[in-house]
């Protein structure tokens, strides 16, 4: 599945919700399911400090594909991280570096990626792309 197809799949999944609370119920479940980063790996170099919630991101390149693991102290933030990872994992560094993550806007969660929300998600996406750029340059 291409990155674009994965985005489309999520947009379709979210189309069934006509109530905001149902949508968030689903995001919270995603957040609960997201594999945790073990506490010993929650180090400062992996930390992205937001004004509201904190995010830890670990990046790896396996067989030329990007691998991300992330965690947050807030469940909703984790749920959205889950969606981002679903879309970006196992992709070529180049694809990630240039990806337009329009699905976030289409499912109505763009407020979480606005600079004002300061939950660390915007910085996380930037870091993901930056690490992909670095991997692509190698």
């Amino acid at each position: 599945m291409t990155l674009e197809e994965k985005q489309q799949e999520i947009v379709e999944e979210f189309a069934v919700f006509d109530d905001w609370m149902d949508k968030y119920e689903y995001i919270i479940e995603l957040g609960k399911d997201l594999p945790l980063i073990s506490d010993d790996k929650k180090t400062d170099d992996r930390l992205i400090e937001g004004c509201q919630s904190r995010v830890w991101l670990e990046t790896d390149v396996v067989d030329g594909k990007m691998q991300f693991t992330a965690d947050s102290d807030a469940i909703i933030t984790k749920g959205i991280i889950g969606l981002l990872i679903q879309v970006m994992n196992n992709e070529d560094p180049k694809t990630i570096a240039t990806a337009d993550l329009h699905f976030i806007r289409e499912i109505g969660l763009q407020e979480h990626l606005s600079p004002t929300r300061a939950n660390g998600l915007l910085s996380m996406v930037q870091k993901m792309k930056l690490s992909a750029l670095k991997a692509a340059a190698v």
Binding site: W20, M21, E25, C51, Q52, S53, D73, I75, I76
Partner: protein, 411 residues
């Protein structure tokens, strides 16, 4: 139940005067409980601003023409209204600023010029960042020493410790009247009296108090009192710094520019008298006029009744919230205003705030610009519901149900 509560005054007729309140967000009736961040505006204030730009717009203090004279008159009228409201002895003791932050910075910079190395400044453990950082900058600039009055686990200042911090080296005490995070009402009159005994001047951060209670600067006897317009039902970008004339006269100007001068030559400039010495440049004219109207609106209310009603709202909210599993109130001072800060065991404030938002309930989450308070309680942040007199008991019920639903979803 909400119906059983006695309503101290006619909330519905007050609500009608605040257009923002009667709207829906996400298809739900808006429940606005973020008054600590900013208050909504009554129609009279909105209309006054519209009227100013529609018919009166003109620069003040200098023009010889009709519009300028009229705008000057309305702007200066606002100053008089506010002077009377806070019972300042003199009109020129009421300085227009852009807000509380600007007022505190003015004092830190200008009064700070009169301080020297080794002088001590006392603040408290529950200050907003804007009543911490300007003093830290001053300390760096002048070599002054910053001391902090500690608080107890209820969020009350420890007055014995304060007494011990005071000495002849204390030159300035800057304390918040009401904590924006904890709701604690500090004994600022007593704090002022004790500081004066040591010859120190006192600045009170009134950003969270003037909208909730009667403030009489002469009774408090504080030397400075700063507040923001937008938290007291007025416009954003305007605020007031009250200062005693004898002290303001001694202080050097803060910013140079138009309006603050008497005579300018390239060799030497002499400064205008108060209040203009501290009001360089064209001010926020519509904001000042709007703020005057906000205080006229407030003058029409019985502030004791307001205080009582708001207290009733907060007490009811606290009582109902505490019935929820894992609920912990942050800020349980004996003397408290209508701020209810809480966390729920195992849950992040951001998650609760986000889910409340989607239910149409506006609260604030996070550290509320008081990171040292969060460090003290060892928490990442709180959810804060802050009430104004236009809030209702029914809205408290919606809040509590909303929090309960959020908890059930998150657990």
């Amino acid at each position: 139940m909400a119906e059983e509560k006695t309503i101290a005054f006619d909330v519905e007729s007050i609500r009608e005067q605040f257009p923002t309140l009667s709207q829906q967000v996400y298809g739900k009736d808006l429940v606005y409980l973020d008054n600590g961040a900013t208050s909504q505006k009554p129609k009279v204030v909105i209309d006054a601003i519209g009227h100013y730009y529609t018919l009166e717009n003109s620069n003040i203090h200098r023009g010889v023409h009709f519009l300028s004279q009229q705008a000057t008159e309305h702007y200066e009228h606002a100053r008089k209204v506010i002077q009377q409201y806070i019972n300042a002895p003199l009109e020129e003791e009421v300085l227009f600023t852009s807000g509380t932050t600007a007022g505190i910075n003015l004092v830190a910079f200008s009064y700070g010029e009169l301080l020297s190395e080794g002088d001590e400044i006392i603040i408290s453990a529950m200050e907003h960042h804007s009543n911490i950082v300007p003093w830290q900058i001053l300390c760096e600039r002048k070599g002054c020493i910053l001391k902090v009055i500690p608080m107890n686990e209820h969020g009350e200042l420890m007055m014995d410790a304060y007494s011990n911090l005071l000495s002849h080296r204390t030159k300035l005490v800057a304390v918040t009247h009401i904590s924006n995070t904890l709701g604690t009402i500090n004994p600022v009159k007593e704090i002022t009296r004790m500081a004066h005994e040591q010859g120190a001047v006192v600045l009170i951060d009134g950003a969270q108090s003037i909208q909730h209670m009667t403030v009489d600067v002469q009774e408090l006897d504080c030397d400075f009192y700063a507040f923001s317009g937008h938290k007291v039902f007025g416009p954003t970008g305007v605020g007031i710094l009250y200062g005693k004339k004898a002290i303001l006269d001694k202080m050097p100007p803060y910013q140079g520019g138009g309006d603050m001068i008497e005579k300018v030559t390239f060799e030497k400039t002499t400064y205008n008298g108060l209040p203009h010495k501290f009001e360089a440049g064209t001010p926020n004219i519509s904001g000042g006029i709007g703020l005057g109207v906000a205080f006229e609106f407030l003058s029409g209310l019985d502030m004791d009744e307001v205080e009582h009603y708001e207290k009733e709202l907060a007490t009811y909210a606290e009582k109902e919230l505490l019935k929820l599993d894992g609920m912990r109130l942050i800020g349980t001072a004996k003397e408290k205003t209508s701020v209810v800060s809480f966390i729920v065991e195992g849950l992040h404030p951001f998650d609760i705030g986000t889910l409340l938002d989607k239910q149409g309930i506006a609260v604030r989450t996070g550290h509320h610009c008081t990171q040292p308070v969060m460090d003290f309680f060892k928490i990442p942040g709180t959810v804060r519901a802050s009430f104004a007199f236009y809030n209702t008991m029914a809205e408290v019920d919606i809040l509590v149900k909303g929090v309960e639903r959020s908890i059930n979803m998150l657990r």
